[in-house]
Symmetry: C2
Subunit: 194 residues, 2 copies
Protein backbone atom coordinates (compact mmCIF):
# COMPACT_ATOMS: atom_id res chain seq x y z
CA UNK A 1 0.00 0.00 0.00
CA UNK A 2 1.29 3.41 -0.97
CA UNK A 3 1.38 6.29 1.42
CA UNK A 4 -0.58 9.46 0.82
CA UNK A 5 2.52 11.41 -0.09
CA UNK A 6 3.32 9.06 -2.97
CA UNK A 7 -0.31 9.06 -4.05
CA UNK A 8 -0.15 12.83 -4.28
CA UNK A 9 3.04 12.65 -6.35
CA UNK A 10 1.44 10.19 -8.75
CA UNK A 11 -1.66 12.35 -9.00
CA UNK A 12 0.57 15.37 -9.66
CA UNK A 13 2.23 13.48 -12.50
CA UNK A 14 -1.16 12.82 -14.06
CA UNK A 15 -2.24 16.43 -13.67
CA UNK A 16 1.01 17.66 -15.24
CA UNK A 17 0.49 15.30 -18.17
CA UNK A 18 -2.98 16.77 -18.62
CA UNK A 19 -2.39 20.46 -17.91
CA UNK A 20 1.34 21.00 -17.96
CA UNK A 21 3.64 22.14 -15.18
CA UNK A 22 2.40 25.67 -15.45
CA UNK A 23 -1.20 24.53 -15.70
CA UNK A 24 -1.13 22.59 -12.45
CA UNK A 25 -3.51 24.07 -9.88
CA UNK A 26 -3.19 22.92 -6.32
CA UNK A 27 -6.96 22.65 -6.10
CA UNK A 28 -7.18 20.44 -9.15
CA UNK A 29 -4.40 18.26 -7.81
CA UNK A 30 -6.32 17.89 -4.55
CA UNK A 31 -9.38 16.69 -6.47
CA UNK A 32 -7.29 14.31 -8.59
CA UNK A 33 -5.65 12.85 -5.49
CA UNK A 34 -8.96 12.87 -3.59
CA UNK A 35 -7.51 14.81 -0.68
CA UNK A 36 -7.87 18.36 0.62
CA UNK A 37 -5.59 21.22 -0.44
CA UNK A 38 -4.53 21.55 3.17
CA UNK A 39 -3.12 18.03 3.11
CA UNK A 40 -0.98 18.92 0.12
CA UNK A 41 0.46 21.84 2.06
CA UNK A 42 1.01 19.52 5.00
CA UNK A 43 3.16 17.17 2.89
CA UNK A 44 4.87 19.78 0.73
CA UNK A 45 6.10 23.21 1.70
CA UNK A 46 4.48 25.12 -1.15
CA UNK A 47 3.56 24.81 -4.81
CA UNK A 48 7.18 25.27 -5.95
CA UNK A 49 8.39 22.55 -3.59
CA UNK A 50 5.64 20.23 -4.73
CA UNK A 51 6.69 20.83 -8.33
CA UNK A 52 10.34 20.17 -7.56
CA UNK A 53 9.56 16.90 -5.85
CA UNK A 54 7.18 15.83 -8.58
CA UNK A 55 9.78 16.46 -11.27
CA UNK A 56 12.32 14.49 -9.25
CA UNK A 57 9.75 11.70 -8.92
CA UNK A 58 9.24 11.69 -12.69
CA UNK A 59 12.99 11.72 -13.38
CA UNK A 60 13.52 8.76 -11.10
CA UNK A 61 10.82 6.84 -12.87
CA UNK A 62 12.37 7.67 -16.24
CA UNK A 63 15.79 6.64 -14.99
CA UNK A 64 14.39 3.27 -14.12
CA UNK A 65 13.32 2.78 -17.75
CA UNK A 66 16.95 2.64 -18.73
CA UNK A 67 18.68 1.66 -15.49
CA UNK A 68 16.80 -1.63 -15.41
CA UNK A 69 18.17 -2.59 -18.76
CA UNK A 70 21.31 -4.70 -18.78
CA UNK A 71 23.74 -2.52 -20.67
CA UNK A 72 25.79 -4.23 -23.36
CA UNK A 73 23.90 -7.50 -23.04
CA UNK A 74 21.26 -6.70 -25.62
CA UNK A 75 20.32 -9.65 -27.84
CA UNK A 76 20.21 -7.62 -31.08
CA UNK A 77 23.59 -5.97 -30.54
CA UNK A 78 24.37 -2.27 -30.01
CA UNK A 79 22.47 -1.13 -33.10
CA UNK A 80 19.21 -2.68 -31.87
CA UNK A 81 19.90 -1.46 -28.35
CA UNK A 82 20.44 2.07 -29.66
CA UNK A 83 17.13 1.98 -31.45
CA UNK A 84 15.37 0.63 -28.40
CA UNK A 85 16.75 3.28 -26.06
CA UNK A 86 15.83 6.12 -28.42
CA UNK A 87 12.35 4.68 -28.89
CA UNK A 88 11.71 4.62 -25.15
CA UNK A 89 10.44 8.20 -25.40
CA UNK A 90 8.12 7.41 -28.28
CA UNK A 91 5.57 4.92 -27.02
CA UNK A 92 1.88 5.33 -26.47
CA UNK A 93 1.57 3.98 -22.96
CA UNK A 94 0.25 6.03 -20.07
CA UNK A 95 3.63 5.95 -18.32
CA UNK A 96 5.66 7.11 -21.30
CA UNK A 97 3.11 9.70 -22.33
CA UNK A 98 3.14 11.10 -18.82
CA UNK A 99 6.90 11.12 -18.68
CA UNK A 100 7.42 12.56 -22.15
CA UNK A 101 4.85 15.25 -21.53
CA UNK A 102 6.39 16.20 -18.22
CA UNK A 103 9.83 16.17 -19.77
CA UNK A 104 8.77 18.44 -22.60
CA UNK A 105 7.16 20.74 -20.08
CA UNK A 106 10.30 20.79 -18.00
CA UNK A 107 12.31 21.87 -21.04
CA UNK A 108 9.76 24.43 -22.11
CA UNK A 109 9.49 25.81 -18.60
CA UNK A 110 13.26 26.03 -18.21
CA UNK A 111 13.30 28.61 -21.00
CA UNK A 112 11.62 31.00 -18.57
CA UNK A 113 12.84 29.65 -15.26
CA UNK A 114 16.62 29.44 -15.01
CA UNK A 115 16.30 27.62 -11.70
CA UNK A 116 15.31 24.44 -13.52
CA UNK A 117 18.21 24.44 -15.95
CA UNK A 118 20.76 22.64 -13.83
CA UNK A 119 18.64 19.51 -13.30
CA UNK A 120 17.72 19.57 -16.94
CA UNK A 121 21.33 19.76 -18.13
CA UNK A 122 22.34 16.87 -15.88
CA UNK A 123 19.68 14.47 -17.10
CA UNK A 124 20.23 15.49 -20.72
CA UNK A 125 23.94 14.88 -20.40
CA UNK A 126 23.38 11.40 -18.99
CA UNK A 127 21.12 10.53 -21.89
CA UNK A 128 23.44 11.93 -24.57
CA UNK A 129 26.36 10.11 -23.02
CA UNK A 130 24.49 6.82 -23.04
CA UNK A 131 23.62 7.23 -26.73
CA UNK A 132 27.20 8.21 -27.60
CA UNK A 133 28.37 5.05 -25.88
CA UNK A 134 25.98 2.89 -27.88
CA UNK A 135 27.09 4.59 -31.10
CA UNK A 136 30.70 3.86 -30.22
CA UNK A 137 29.86 0.20 -29.77
CA UNK A 138 27.85 0.10 -33.00
CA UNK A 139 30.61 1.79 -34.98
CA UNK A 140 33.95 1.26 -33.22
CA UNK A 141 35.75 2.77 -36.22
CA UNK A 142 34.27 6.24 -35.63
CA UNK A 143 35.90 9.00 -33.58
CA UNK A 144 34.67 10.04 -30.16
CA UNK A 145 33.74 13.60 -31.23
CA UNK A 146 31.75 12.20 -34.15
CA UNK A 147 29.89 9.87 -31.79
CA UNK A 148 29.22 12.73 -29.40
CA UNK A 149 27.85 14.95 -32.17
CA UNK A 150 25.68 12.15 -33.57
CA UNK A 151 24.33 11.44 -30.07
CA UNK A 152 23.42 15.10 -29.60
CA UNK A 153 21.65 15.14 -32.95
CA UNK A 154 19.73 11.93 -32.29
CA UNK A 155 18.56 12.94 -28.83
CA UNK A 156 17.60 16.46 -29.93
CA UNK A 157 15.71 14.90 -32.84
CA UNK A 158 13.81 12.60 -30.51
CA UNK A 159 12.88 15.59 -28.36
CA UNK A 160 11.68 17.52 -31.37
CA UNK A 161 9.67 14.58 -32.67
CA UNK A 162 8.26 13.88 -29.23
CA UNK A 163 6.90 17.43 -29.00
CA UNK A 164 5.37 17.12 -32.46
CA UNK A 165 3.80 13.83 -31.48
CA UNK A 166 2.39 15.12 -28.21
CA UNK A 167 1.10 18.30 -29.84
CA UNK A 168 -0.77 16.21 -32.38
CA UNK A 169 1.15 17.20 -35.49
CA UNK A 170 2.84 13.86 -36.06
CA UNK A 171 1.49 10.30 -35.74
CA UNK A 172 3.54 8.15 -33.42
CA UNK A 173 4.33 5.50 -36.05
CA UNK A 174 5.66 8.17 -38.35
CA UNK A 175 7.84 9.64 -35.61
CA UNK A 176 9.28 6.21 -34.89
CA UNK A 177 9.96 5.62 -38.56
CA UNK A 178 11.82 8.93 -38.76
CA UNK A 179 14.01 7.93 -35.84
CA UNK A 180 14.88 4.65 -37.53
CA UNK A 181 15.80 6.61 -40.65
CA UNK A 182 17.98 8.95 -38.61
CA UNK A 183 19.82 6.04 -37.01
CA UNK A 184 20.46 4.57 -40.46
CA UNK A 185 21.68 7.91 -41.70
CA UNK A 186 23.94 8.57 -38.72
CA UNK A 187 25.44 5.09 -38.93
CA UNK A 188 26.25 5.72 -42.59
CA UNK A 189 23.58 3.27 -43.74
CA UNK A 190 21.18 3.57 -46.63
CA UNK A 191 18.96 6.23 -45.09
CA UNK A 192 20.43 9.30 -46.73
CA UNK A 193 18.64 11.24 -49.43
CA UNK A 194 20.78 10.20 -52.38
Amino acid sequence: MLDRRTEILMAATRVIARRGVRGLRVGELATEAAVSTALIYYHFTDRAGLLRETLAFISDRADRYTAERDPGAHPGGPRAELEQVLMLELQDTADVRENSTAWGELRATAVFEPGLREDLAKVTHTWVYEIADLLARARPDGTAPAHAAAAERLTALVEGLSTRWLSGSLPLDHARQLVRGAIDTELGGSGAVG
Copy 2:
Protein backbone atom coordinates in the same frame (compact mmCIF):
# COMPACT_ATOMS: atom_id res chain seq x y z
CA MET B 1 2.99 54.84 -37.93
CA LEU B 2 1.57 51.74 -36.34
CA ASP B 3 -1.85 51.63 -34.77
CA ARG B 4 -2.35 50.80 -31.13
CA ARG B 5 -3.67 47.37 -31.92
CA THR B 6 -0.45 46.39 -33.67
CA GLU B 7 1.61 47.97 -30.91
CA ILE B 8 -0.20 45.75 -28.43
CA LEU B 9 0.48 42.66 -30.55
CA MET B 10 4.18 43.51 -30.73
CA ALA B 11 4.28 44.10 -26.99
CA ALA B 12 2.51 40.77 -26.46
CA THR B 13 5.19 39.05 -28.53
CA ARG B 14 7.86 40.54 -26.30
CA VAL B 15 6.04 39.51 -23.13
CA ILE B 16 5.59 35.97 -24.44
CA ALA B 17 9.30 35.79 -25.25
CA ARG B 18 10.02 36.86 -21.67
CA ARG B 19 7.35 34.97 -19.70
CA GLY B 20 5.87 32.39 -22.02
CA VAL B 21 2.33 32.09 -23.35
CA ARG B 22 1.04 30.85 -20.03
CA GLY B 23 3.08 33.43 -18.14
CA LEU B 24 1.52 36.35 -19.96
CA ARG B 25 -0.49 38.58 -17.63
CA VAL B 26 -2.79 41.14 -19.14
CA GLY B 27 -1.58 43.67 -16.60
CA GLU B 28 2.05 43.13 -17.52
CA LEU B 29 1.19 43.39 -21.19
CA ALA B 30 -0.55 46.70 -20.51
CA THR B 31 2.59 48.04 -18.85
CA GLU B 32 4.80 46.74 -21.67
CA ALA B 33 2.57 48.36 -24.28
CA ALA B 34 2.16 51.50 -22.16
CA VAL B 35 -1.62 51.34 -22.29
CA SER B 36 -4.36 50.47 -19.80
CA THR B 37 -5.74 46.97 -19.36
CA ALA B 38 -9.13 48.30 -20.40
CA LEU B 39 -7.74 49.25 -23.80
CA ILE B 40 -6.54 45.71 -24.33
CA TYR B 41 -10.05 44.45 -23.64
CA TYR B 42 -11.38 47.08 -26.02
CA HIS B 43 -9.21 45.77 -28.87
CA PHE B 44 -9.43 42.06 -28.05
CA THR B 45 -12.38 40.10 -26.74
CA ASP B 46 -10.58 38.38 -23.87
CA ARG B 47 -7.24 36.90 -22.91
CA ALA B 48 -7.77 33.82 -25.07
CA GLY B 49 -8.64 35.92 -28.12
CA LEU B 50 -5.62 38.13 -27.53
CA LEU B 51 -3.43 35.03 -27.38
CA ARG B 52 -4.91 33.60 -30.57
CA GLU B 53 -4.29 36.82 -32.46
CA THR B 54 -0.80 37.21 -31.07
CA LEU B 55 0.15 33.70 -32.13
CA ALA B 56 -1.22 34.39 -35.63
CA PHE B 57 0.80 37.61 -35.65
CA ILE B 58 3.94 35.69 -34.73
CA SER B 59 3.27 33.03 -37.37
CA ASP B 60 2.84 35.68 -40.06
CA ARG B 61 6.08 37.32 -39.08
CA ALA B 62 7.89 33.96 -39.20
CA ASP B 63 6.40 33.28 -42.62
CA ARG B 64 7.82 36.53 -43.86
CA TYR B 65 11.34 35.47 -42.88
CA THR B 66 11.23 32.92 -45.63
CA ALA B 67 8.56 34.33 -47.97
CA GLU B 68 10.62 37.43 -48.63
CA ARG B 69 13.56 35.40 -49.84
CA ASP B 70 13.87 34.89 -53.56
CA PRO B 71 13.49 31.13 -53.85
CA GLY B 72 15.91 29.39 -56.13
CA ALA B 73 18.01 32.47 -56.72
CA HIS B 74 20.46 31.86 -53.90
CA PRO B 75 24.11 32.60 -54.82
CA GLY B 76 25.57 29.56 -53.09
CA GLY B 77 23.17 27.09 -54.66
CA PRO B 78 20.50 24.93 -52.97
CA ARG B 79 22.85 23.42 -50.42
CA ALA B 80 23.83 26.86 -49.07
CA GLU B 81 20.22 28.00 -49.25
CA LEU B 82 19.13 24.95 -47.26
CA GLU B 83 21.66 25.71 -44.57
CA GLN B 84 20.63 29.34 -44.46
CA VAL B 85 16.92 28.58 -44.13
CA LEU B 86 17.48 26.06 -41.34
CA MET B 87 19.77 28.49 -39.53
CA LEU B 88 17.13 31.21 -39.55
CA GLU B 89 15.78 29.79 -36.28
CA LEU B 90 19.18 29.71 -34.65
CA GLN B 91 20.42 33.26 -34.44
CA ASP B 92 20.98 35.45 -31.42
CA THR B 93 19.12 38.55 -32.51
CA ALA B 94 16.18 39.99 -30.60
CA ASP B 95 13.77 39.20 -33.44
CA VAL B 96 14.78 35.58 -33.86
CA ARG B 97 14.98 34.99 -30.14
CA GLU B 98 11.47 36.38 -29.76
CA ASN B 99 10.12 34.31 -32.60
CA SER B 100 11.88 31.11 -31.63
CA THR B 101 10.83 31.46 -28.02
CA ALA B 102 7.25 32.22 -28.96
CA TRP B 103 7.26 29.39 -31.47
CA GLY B 104 8.54 26.93 -28.89
CA GLU B 105 5.86 28.14 -26.52
CA LEU B 106 3.22 27.68 -29.18
CA ARG B 107 4.30 24.07 -29.63
CA ALA B 108 4.55 23.41 -25.92
CA THR B 109 1.17 25.00 -25.28
CA ALA B 110 -0.49 23.05 -28.10
CA VAL B 111 0.27 19.86 -26.18
CA PHE B 112 -2.38 20.94 -23.69
CA GLU B 113 -4.61 23.10 -25.87
CA PRO B 114 -5.94 21.27 -28.91
CA GLY B 115 -7.38 24.52 -30.25
CA LEU B 116 -3.90 25.65 -31.26
CA ARG B 117 -2.98 22.54 -33.16
CA GLU B 118 -4.44 23.40 -36.52
CA ASP B 119 -2.45 26.63 -36.94
CA LEU B 120 0.63 24.85 -35.74
CA ALA B 121 0.28 22.00 -38.23
CA LYS B 122 -0.21 24.42 -41.11
CA VAL B 123 2.90 26.47 -40.44
CA THR B 124 4.97 23.35 -39.74
CA HIS B 125 3.85 21.80 -43.00
CA THR B 126 4.85 24.91 -44.95
CA TRP B 127 8.30 24.84 -43.41
CA VAL B 128 8.83 21.10 -43.96
CA TYR B 129 7.68 21.42 -47.54
CA GLU B 130 10.11 24.25 -48.19
CA ILE B 131 13.00 22.20 -46.82
CA ALA B 132 11.97 19.14 -48.82
CA ASP B 133 12.00 21.30 -51.94
CA LEU B 134 15.51 22.54 -51.23
CA LEU B 135 16.68 18.98 -50.59
CA ALA B 136 15.21 17.94 -53.93
CA ARG B 137 17.15 20.71 -55.66
CA ALA B 138 20.34 19.83 -53.79
CA ARG B 139 20.02 16.13 -54.60
CA PRO B 140 17.87 15.69 -57.71
CA ASP B 141 18.73 12.00 -57.75
CA GLY B 142 16.89 11.27 -54.50
CA THR B 143 13.25 10.17 -54.27
CA ALA B 144 10.45 12.44 -53.09
CA PRO B 145 9.63 10.32 -49.99
CA ALA B 146 13.29 10.34 -48.99
CA HIS B 147 13.38 14.12 -49.33
CA ALA B 148 10.19 14.45 -47.30
CA ALA B 149 11.54 12.25 -44.50
CA ALA B 150 14.87 14.09 -44.43
CA ALA B 151 13.02 17.42 -44.28
CA GLU B 152 10.95 16.23 -41.34
CA ARG B 153 14.07 15.07 -39.54
CA LEU B 154 15.98 18.29 -40.19
CA THR B 155 13.15 20.57 -39.07
CA ALA B 156 12.37 18.49 -35.99
CA LEU B 157 16.08 18.55 -35.17
CA VAL B 158 16.18 22.33 -35.44
CA GLU B 159 13.19 22.57 -33.10
CA GLY B 160 14.83 20.28 -30.59
CA LEU B 161 18.12 22.17 -30.75
CA SER B 162 16.33 25.49 -30.53
CA THR B 163 14.64 24.46 -27.29
CA ARG B 164 17.96 23.30 -25.88
CA TRP B 165 19.56 26.56 -26.87
CA LEU B 166 16.79 28.70 -25.39
CA SER B 167 16.71 26.66 -22.20
CA GLY B 168 20.42 27.22 -21.75
CA SER B 169 21.63 23.66 -22.21
CA LEU B 170 23.36 24.20 -25.54
CA PRO B 171 25.51 27.10 -26.80
CA LEU B 172 24.24 28.61 -30.03
CA ASP B 173 27.47 27.95 -31.97
CA HIS B 174 27.31 24.31 -31.02
CA ALA B 175 23.69 24.02 -32.11
CA ARG B 176 24.54 25.56 -35.46
CA GLN B 177 27.45 23.18 -35.90
CA LEU B 178 25.18 20.23 -35.22
CA VAL B 179 22.76 21.40 -37.88
CA ARG B 180 25.59 21.65 -40.39
CA GLY B 181 26.60 18.11 -39.51
CA ALA B 182 23.03 16.91 -39.95
CA ILE B 183 22.81 18.50 -43.39
CA ASP B 184 26.06 16.79 -44.37
CA THR B 185 24.76 13.51 -43.05
CA GLU B 186 21.37 13.77 -44.74
CA LEU B 187 22.95 14.72 -48.05
CA GLY B 188 25.16 11.65 -47.82
CA GLY B 189 28.28 13.72 -47.21
CA SER B 190 31.13 13.03 -44.84
CA GLY B 191 29.24 13.82 -41.65
CA ALA B 192 28.29 10.31 -40.60
CA VAL B 193 29.87 8.52 -37.69
CA GLY B 194 31.94 6.06 -39.65
